[in-house]
Symmetry: C2
Subunit: 396 residues, 2 copies
Amino acid sequence: MDSFFSDRISDVPRSFIREILKVAIDPTIISFAGGLPNRQFFPAEELQRATQQVFERYGRDLFQYSNSEGFLPLRQWIAERYRKTQGLEISPESILITSGSQQGLDLLGKVLLNEGEGVLMEAPGYLGAIQAFSIYRPEFMNVAVDEQGMVLEELDHQLARGNPKLAYSVPNFQNPAGISYSDANREAVAQRLRGKRCVLVEDNPYGDLRFSGTPARSFYELLPGQTVLLGSFSKCVIPGFRLGWLVAPEALMQKLLVAKQATDLHTSHFTQCIVHQYLMDNDIDAHIATIVDAYGDQCRAMMEAMDRHFPSSVRYTRPDGGMFLWVTLPGKLSAMALFEEAVKQQVVFVPGDPFYTDQQSHSTLRLSFSCVDAATIEVGIERLGLAIKKMLGEAS
Amino acid sequence: MDSFFSDRISDVPRSFIREILKVAIDPTIISFAGGLPNRQFFPAEELQRATQQVFERYGRDLFQYSNSEGFLPLRQWIAERYRKTQGLEISPESILITSGSQQGLDLLGKVLLNEGEGVLMEAPGYLGAIQAFSIYRPEFMNVAVDEQGMVLEELDHQLARGNPKLAYSVPNFQNPAGISYSDANREAVAQRLRGKRCVLVEDNPYGDLRFSGTPARSFYELLPGQTVLLGSFSKCVIPGFRLGWLVAPEALMQKLLVAKQATDLHTSHFTQCIVHQYLMDNDIDAHIATIVDAYGDQCRAMMEAMDRHFPSSVRYTRPDGGMFLWVTLPGKLSAMALFEEAVKQQVVFVPGDPFYTDQQSHSTLRLSFSCVDAATIEVGIERLGLAIKKMLGEAS
């Protein structure tokens, strides 16, 4: 029956991560594989109170079909937060509430991408974006990222080949590599795309999770009128509600609204009201500070453990925030091969392959530090170091 | 900037209903336009109790990212209900929870439809399905429906032209026409599609809302292995949570899961848990009976008022359930033209045009009886009768 299905669905890579998560259920295995926020920091009591509040405040209004744009007070809160934290002037009318920022990616693919059109994609890049855009069968134009941001020679090379319709970036604490774009790199990327018929997507789920360094400017300022912002409540409040948003220019927003209606009519009004109430009644900055403290400690613990337990030929990124760091193995050692050995040592990670669109074997891998405490990190990194040494023939 | 957008989004019809709903905000206007369930029957207290229960029962487990398939106990409940109410044997593994059944339509379009492939569509047909499938640029193969179901001559004509990849039907209390397919019609449709490379979608949001007549057999029995069932909690429990489901054969389910992941990862786990708890703790059949009593009374009130206030040349369907009935005006009178006159008389409805893919002007219209009481129906139908008579030149 396989050829019965649409061509587009055959192009979507299966998620290796789902398979890994199955392995990771074994409690004796230490997992650096997940991309999950730490559940310890979910504001459970506060959300329960907010839920009681909205039942009393809105009654049956909570339950009816609602508008496709999303709950206006929540969009007003988001607009105000952009103003306060980044100095960006964004009107609530430019904001569409989405069922997670994953849906933002799907909607952008729907309204922008014809088959074969170009998508500039970070390499490595966010797996969920590769999946979402693959549905619309674009040509991926890959640009490597390093600790400065997009590698400009590669960007120039791709732009010489053709004009991308959409450029995708996670400029702050990128998933998977943990890198951030410098101000100079952002300006250089913006300058190259300015005036082109190309929308740059700044996906920023981790921006609030900064534990060192200083913020850089948003593409929204550097590339006005061409930038779409994606945001999410998943990393700093709650992932399970599936609430995200996008900010888009007026003409694009009109098309996105048509697509939103055709896709799921609207995002749950109930959960939008709860999160809005939570944000009204609580100090979100204090809450974020707690998460940042923990993630920062765990990231430092991981880097220090790697310094001690990994061969010096192994390189890794040093994130200023977020949930991930990125390891490059020496001598073209396959991360997939290492994965098999690591499972034997009872530790898992995500091999780099699914974060590239090239279907090649890579010697890179992603480690998440968000859900593991320092003691577990020490044991897990020691195990992983042992596996790496075994693969390199340094141990036995 | 218009040509900048994807070809697919230009094909999606704008929803005239959004415009109507804006008019309908005026409290002096009586609206038969909405497609909303009656908010009076939302089980507000019961849902509040269920919410408190799940906070206590699951704690932080409510809040994390969850699986794409949906909450297993909820899928088990749905499977059991199919067994109990329709005698269908469906395993929970065949059920995918969706963000409203609108998302089921989007996912089916994603995994099945290549550009230009055929979609058998009821004429008139559900606007949301036309929108969802339009995204994937199929060729619509329209088949008229009447009080028996699909008009078989038209079905034969379409099947002689080519093989549809997907056939869409709302066989119980159809939106917009309020008609139901007879057993004989279902068998005739199934017989024609049997063995073809075609998936029949039985969209059944209203099936529980029967106030007269007897149930007919599901296509799931008549066309096994080729039928996808769509269901929804929107009409009998709560629309604002955006919870629906689909039932699909194994091979198709694998593709749908990939599409679900790429589209929004998963549906809100929190709201799934609440609805499951509500269903465990309450008598859903008693709740449905209350809704059915009211909708049945309102439907009868509307039909009786039409008998009194409409010219005898106006025809309309006599639904056995659901929320809608369908009016055919005499003498090719344009329903769009009538709409203008009706607004002057302070009553609104949905003209038939958006329920057809042919972009023609139609002399049909949809009336909803779900949210209006008998007294309001009497006044509104009298006003509408006056508008019709004016247009026909019988009054003034």
